[in-house]
């Protein structure tokens, strides 16, 4: 067996050490290989803003940012994250003031129970980066990987557009 294997097949598995960056800070921990990344974030690091809705990659409640791209943290092992950069909803604000996207969600009534909200916020932030000129249909397609059971998506789409409008007016004028 090559040295990189953690554990012997059929025997109890020893934890492995992982170091990763979470919301800009380096974290080192010992994790069992099968520990899901979402559980690591929530229970090992206490970052309970990311939620668990299905554990099979359908509902999107566990969405985080992984090396700058959206990812479902229930479909990743904490071990896979070693050496990578993660951002969770907690990265939007570290002092309790609302990030402009969060502010837009509040004003547009884009949340009710709040369970899908952290994932929706990160997805919105990514949408505004990836597809800044998305029309309504494209906004809905981009959001379609995140289930909301409460809002019917109306407030969320409105919040996306409100956040975009504010982002645009806050941006410095075009150099051209």
């Amino acid at each position: 067996m090559t040295p990189e294997v953690a554990g012997v097949i059929g025997q109890p598995v020893e934890p492995i050490e992982v170091t990763l960056s979470v919301n800009g800070r380096d974290v080192t921990a010992n994790v069992e290989p099968r520990l899901l990344l979402v559980d690591f974030l929530r229970h090992n690091l206490g970052l309970t803003g990311t939620h668990v809705g299905c554990e099979h990659g359908v509902c999107g409640a566990c969405t985080i940012r992984f090396d700058g791209e959206l990812a479902r943290s229930c479909l990743m092992l904490a071990a896979q994250a070693a050496g990578h950069e993660l951002e969770t909803v907690e990265s939007l604000s570290d002092d309790g003031t609302l990030h402009p996207i969060q502010q837009a969600f509040n004003e547009a009534h884009a949340l009710q129970c709040g369970f899908c909200t952290p994932a929706m916020l990160l997805t919105t932030q990514q949408l505004l980066r990836d597809v800044p000129d998305a029309n309504d249909r494209e906004i809905r397609e981009y959001l379609s990987g995140n289930v909301c059971r409460c809002t019917g998506y109306m407030g969320i789409v409105a919040a996306v557009k409100l956040a975009r409008e504010r982002q645009r007016s806050a941006r410095p004028p075009d150099r051209s």
Binding site: S93, L98, A108, L111, G114, R140, S144, G152, Y153, G155
Partner: protein, 803 residues
Amino acid sequence: MSEDTIGRREGEPWIGRGLPRLEDPRLLLGRGRFVDDISLDGMLEAAFVRSPLGHAAIRSIDATRALELPGVHAVFTGDDLRAACSGPLLFEATLRGRQIQTTRQSVLPTDRVRFVGEPVAIVVADSRYVAEDAVELVEVDWDPLPAVVDENDALRPGAPVLHDNIPDNNFGHIEFSHGDVDGVFAGADRVFSKRFRLGRSMAAPLECRGTIARYDAATGDAEMWATGQGPYERRHSVAAVTGIPETKLRVVQPDVGGAFGLKGLIYPEDPALLVTAKILGRPIKWIEDRFEHLAASSHSKEMTVELEAAVRADGKLLGLRARYVGNAGAYAQLPPTAMVDALLAATMLPSVYDVDAVAYSVDCTLTNKCPTGAARGVGWVPGQLARELLIDEIARELELDPAELRLANCIGPEPRTTATGLHYDGGSYAESIRTVLEQIGYEDLRREQGRLRAEGRYLGVGISPYVEPAVFSTAYRQATGFGIATFDTVSVTVESDGSVIVRTPFHSQGQGHHTSFAQLAADEMGVPVESVRIEQGDTAGGVFGLGTFASRSAVIAAGSIAAASREVREKLLAVAGHQLEIAPEDLVLRDGLVTVRGSPSHSMPIGAVAHAVYFGGPAARPRELVEPTLSATRHHDPPETYSNGTMVAVVEVDIETGIVEIVRMAVVEDCGTVINPLIVDGQAAGAVAQGIGMALLEELHYDEHGQLLSGSLMDYLYPSATDVPAIEIDHLETPSPVTAHGVKGMSNGGTIAAPSAIAAAVADALTPLGVKIDRAPITPDYLISLLGEGSAVEHLHPEGHVS
């Protein structure tokens, strides 16, 4: 949307303002405190051993191998739990006040299981991971029994019997008749009939259930942190089955990620966890996973409806007769039991239509499926589907416009008692139909429909006027014959600094109580909304009530906050009058100040008045004020109140693929006086989305052995952002004459009306092809099977079909 809401001018009421929610920041920052976010010292985690079979006897349960696994602390069966507590660990479920059956459900049965997922043992380990490993090592010797899954099959002689005390599997048979029904049908020009079946769905909130239980042997105090919709019903039932006195059991319901009725029900896991915590002396956490949720929480609405209408040649509805057969699953679920679907469908039979001769019969069949309980829309949904589809079929047959036919049969706006005994408090029934048709451009739509048909495209319009029972109070339960009375209290207290605490027995799982109730209290108490704190969800320091479900909270809160506030206000004004040496009648409470009427500079802050009461001694108060406590707890039990509205769906059906596209969705809704329009719109949109799910996407399939086929979210399909269109919402406001501020509850309207609007639109689109819609959800393969044959095909027994 935001401009108008925050810059409220002094003196203006808070009711009616679209105030952005006060509870949002915490949730937005990811600092919500849902059950799984809570961790207690020494906490262990649990998983349940659950039945893999739809119906089986249990020969033995052997936990030897499971107990050997490192990290496993215990495996308990029902016998172990019963030995450790004084309660029966048994739910006896029936609907009080009706002559119906009782089902008995053991918390962890040792003799027999009746549905896939029924828990039979609890495993406790260091982590959920290890607990799941151990669950697989528990060896249960099952003896399979024949199963029955269809609500009609289970009533037939010879069907497998689920409960020995209910040999015909019929949990509740109820019959009702009003007016000369037989005579009307015998003498009618035409009689139309329809058989419709709605498939099984569920509330499926995004957060699954969860409970943390803790027991302190030194004091006998027990605590449960749990998902829920109001902590008192939960405390009462868990106390009763475990034998723990209610005064020893505290139930805390933290942030809850959606509920829609499902989390207000009573489940065996909670008492199992509590007794386990007692035995082990450590807190035990159980967080339901999505499979458990789909298999073993609560299902809803599965029903066969057979409906007949007696009609005059000109389209006047003369009589309605219906039989509702609900699929109750394996046990009646408390508090409402499965009658919440079949019986409530029946009592809403006439809806907005002026029909006096009405008869119904209700059957509620026990089957080897997950128990069915209350989920948003309840039985009103299948009832509405059957009725509105039939009305359209009548319109087509008589060559009348379906909108005109509805308007011709619509009740007037004044209060009335329906043939089924409901006391409507008036509404905008016909007006909402006319308004939404104008909003949608009905005439233009019909022209466009014709143009598209010529191109071989199939556009359809479906109209669904609805009435929504808007408060589950004693009066509503009496009117429907639906079981026991309700009891709710609210308290209003002014603290020593003048801020206000409102304690309610309700619980918000997204409905925004912290904002809307604060708006109510701010108006009543004359304080800024920011100085009102709403407390809910904790039996410690709370006030009793049944909780949040069936749109009841706003109406009851409005009435009880008003009543409690009135009393506290009088005391404040008496003390302020004493302090200012002004007669209390000349004082006004507004914006946190007690002000002399007509002399705004002559005032004192409410905080100063409160301070005087708490710290100023008797001299600070008028001698006549015998009871100076700045707090009042008041009970409120409002009469019936009903919201209404009309929904229109425009769909295009792709007849080659069976895919239905919702082109437009419009609703005009009337919930009386609106407390917060943002919240009302949010509820309306969310309800429509769930209605779309029931119409097109959501169904829980079982095979004929009771094996659950829809065990993941790849099978049970949530509507996503591309499945729900931009919903056009417009409002009418008919204040209720019988409630505080004229407030009516709302939230179910979209679930009641959207499925039938969509189904009716599909049927309307396919009229040239002679297709009738007899079931929902309307899946692509159902439509293709209808279109292939060119005429209606019976699709009433979908068991065994993989959609």
